[in-house]
């Protein structure tokens, strides 16, 4: 039981630190924050009003406590630009990013899992060397470059996919999938290359372990050894990688949404930075970071459910 208590405590501490960092970064604005936000030529009345809403005169700790307190109640402040609650704006955009991330992860598994297993089974230089160079391409071509290249080929030249924009799932699922395919594909190239690499290494190193030799000495054939023993054990470290991939996908979506003009969180971040809409940025950052922390915590949990060794440690 101690394991879970420690994990939960760690989870809470991480969330706390995330909120402190997010809060503090926005406190070290050079100069008068209200002036910075509204610009030097702003109306003095406006500046004063803003200063009041930002509580600049209170001590930092108090401001932090009240900020976290209202954040816990779902209140992340008011966006300067939209003059609407930040949480509402985020909620509107989140479905796009969530769908994009989900699509990307599904594609990653569909591409990564079979190739990784196949490569581990055929561990020969003539397969590995060309593949590892191709996978390097997947990792190294930034997803936004890949996205633009895909647009120029499939949208501009071949006209297979609609041009930019997003159709909500509720309106037309097929159009939604079509619209999200290119962005999630360009994201999943990198992530599946990472998945394949880890999976391959994990399977190969697992195959070298003594217990696999024991399994062979029982007279099990290669496929049974692979399925019943190797694969299950080598997927465990891959779970951790998958947790990291979720963060990667969310991070990548920030840029890719701008490439494909998807009205998600990433697009929102970019526009809000351009307009210096600080409460909105703060809320978005906090929101994304919390998702990542929650994902990592669930990966830990999953890990402990699958691996009997962990609970005792």
């Amino acid at each position: 039981m101690g394991y879970y208590v420690r994990k939960i405590l760690g989870f809470i501490v991480t969330l706390f630190l995330v909120s402190v960092i997010t809060f503090l970064v926005f406190q070290i604005l050079p100069g008068d924050p209200a002036l910075v936000i509204l610009g030097v030529d702003a109306d003095p009345v406006q500046i004063e009003a803003l200063q009041r809403t930002m509580h600049v005169d209170e001590p930092v700790v108090e401001r932090y406590v009240s900020w976290v307190g209202s954040a816990l109640h779902g209140n992340l402040g008011i966006s300067f630009r939209y003059q609407k609650p930040v949480s509402g704006i985020i909620a509107d955009c989140f479905s796009v990013t969530a769908l994009l991330a989900l699509f990307t992860l599904v594609l990653t598994i569909l591409i990564g899992l079979p190739i990784g297993i196949w490569l581990a089974k055929h561990d020969k230089a003539k397969y590995i060397v060309p593949f590892s160079l191709v996978s390097q391409l997947g990792v190294s071509i930034p997803s936004f470059c890949m996205g633009i290249l895909l647009i120029s080929i499939f949208t501009v030249k071949l006209r297979w996919f609609p041009s930019l924009g997003f159709t909500p799932w509720s309106q037309n699922p097929l159009a939604c999938i079509k619209g999200l395919f290119l962005p999630s594909f360009s994201l999943s190239l990198g992530t599946s290359a990472v998945l394949i690499r880890y999976l391959r290494v994990s399977i190969i190193s697992e195959q070298k372990l003594d217990y696999v030799r024991t399994a062979r000495s029982k007279g099990l054939d290669e496929n049974t050894v692979l399925q019943r023993h190797v694969l299950r054990n080598s997927l465990i470290p891959v779970i951790t990688i998958f947790g990291m991939l979720v963060a990667d996908v969310l991070g990548g979506s920030i840029i890719i949404e701008n490439v494909f003009s998807l009205p998600g969180i990433g697009k929102l971040i970019a526009t809000s930075i351009a307009t210096r809409d600080l409460p909105l940025i703060q809320g978005l950052v906090m929101y994304l970071a919390c998702i990542v922390v929650v994902c990592n915590a669930s990966v830990d949990l999953l890990y402990s459910l699958i691996d009997p060794r962990i609970r005792l440690l």
Binding site: Y211, T214, S217, K218, P308
Partner: protein
């Protein structure tokens, strides 16, 4: 007296090579040995002398990079090296079982130990209930307490000695005529080592399983085995009944090996060690005696002519000091 016994495993002139830098380097060179039913035979040597490679070849588990050049292995009269993958699979675990050195890593950490024993039975045709029953009875036979509970525990919950017992139970569940044990006690503490050794001796008597024991420890061998083969750099240099080898060693390497073992009896004496180390695969001579470079009694003929095994005083030795008698 030994003629009455049936030969179970016969290795004839086995050669096993690795390709290093375009050259074939032998890990096992012209090894021949026979194991009779119910016998415990030991293969003794320092690390890198090819004893594990020989054993793996009998199981068809040698690394993919290994190349078996010449030689035949017969198991109950059937030639093994030419058989198909499928035939190997039916043989392993039922005809010949093998246990390995590291009990800590030889079990799948994510599968209950009972299931791992059972798997070997199921794989060789036992039904579900039957397999479970014989798993439990086998676990009792190897001296495990509270088998019902142990059946569903995971390897990390057991001590090294218990794991080695589990592995032995797994190897013997199909009642194989031959068990190959590769350093089964090396990784264990001495008092636990003693437990496992006496267990193996009991099982050998009760079940009649022949055992091929691979060890570097002549002490272990002397108390467990009937017959010993001493290996050096891929060749068998001397073999014979264990008391003969220990009391009247003939080959200079065997003498050196025995002289190197420290004991209370040798207190305040220098140990008669052998100079140098076992040569690595690349540095082994193609012809001549493998022990030439470290031998204190070497002669000119040792360098160029490989010695043949000759019978002396009731055991075989491959050394030019003991020429073939006409």
């Amino acid at each position: 007296m030994e003629k009455e016994r049936k030969a179970i495993l016969e290795i004839e002139h086995l050669h096993l090579d690795y390709r290093i830098g375009g050259r074939f380097c032998h890990a096992v060179h012209d090894v021949s040995l026979t194991i009779h039913s119910g016998e415990i035979l030991a293969l003794v040597g320092e690390s890198g002398c090819g004893k594990t490679q020989t054993a793996l070849a009998c199981m068809g588990l040698q690394p993919e990079s290994a190349h078996i050049g010449k030689g035949k292995i017969y198991f109950e009269g059937r030639e093994l090296l030419s058989q198909s993958k499928q035939q190997w699979n039916t043989l392993r675990g039922k005809g010949i079982s093998m246990i390995f050195q590291e009990p800590m890593t030889a079990l799948n950490p994510l599968v209950k130990v009972g299931k791992q024993i059972e798997e070997n039975g199921r794989n060789h045709g036992l039904g579900k209930i039957q397999a479970r029953e014989s798993t439990l009875s086998m676990m009792e036979k190897v001296g495990l307490p509270d088998v019902g509970r142990l059946y569903s525990s995971y390897p990390h919950q057991l001590s090294g000695g218990m794991r080695q017992r589990i592995i032995i139970a797994m190897a013997l569940i199909n009642d194989p005529p031959l068990l190959i044990a590769d350093e089964p006690t090396t990784a264990l503490d001495v008092t636990i080592q003693k437990q496992i050794m006496s267990l193996m001796k009991t099982l050998n008597k009760e079940l009649g399983t022949a055992i091929m024991l691979i060890s570097h420890d002549l002490g272990v061998v002397s108390h467990l085995c009937d017959y010993v083969h001493i290996m050096y750099a891929g060749t068998i240099v001397e073999n014979g009944p264990v008391h003969m080898i220990l009391n009247k060693p003939l080959h200079p390497y065997t003498k050196g090996l025995l002289g190197s073992i420290p004991s209370y009896g040798k207190k305040d004496q220098r140990l008669d060690s052998i100079a140098g180390i076992v040569p690595s695969l690349e540095n082994r001579p193609q012809v001549g005696c493998q022990f030439y470079n470290r031998c204190t009694q070497r002669m000119a003929s040792c360098k160029n002519i490989s010695p043949h095994a000759t019978m002396r005083d009731g055991h075989m030795v491959a050394c030019h000091l003991y020429p073939e008698e006409a």
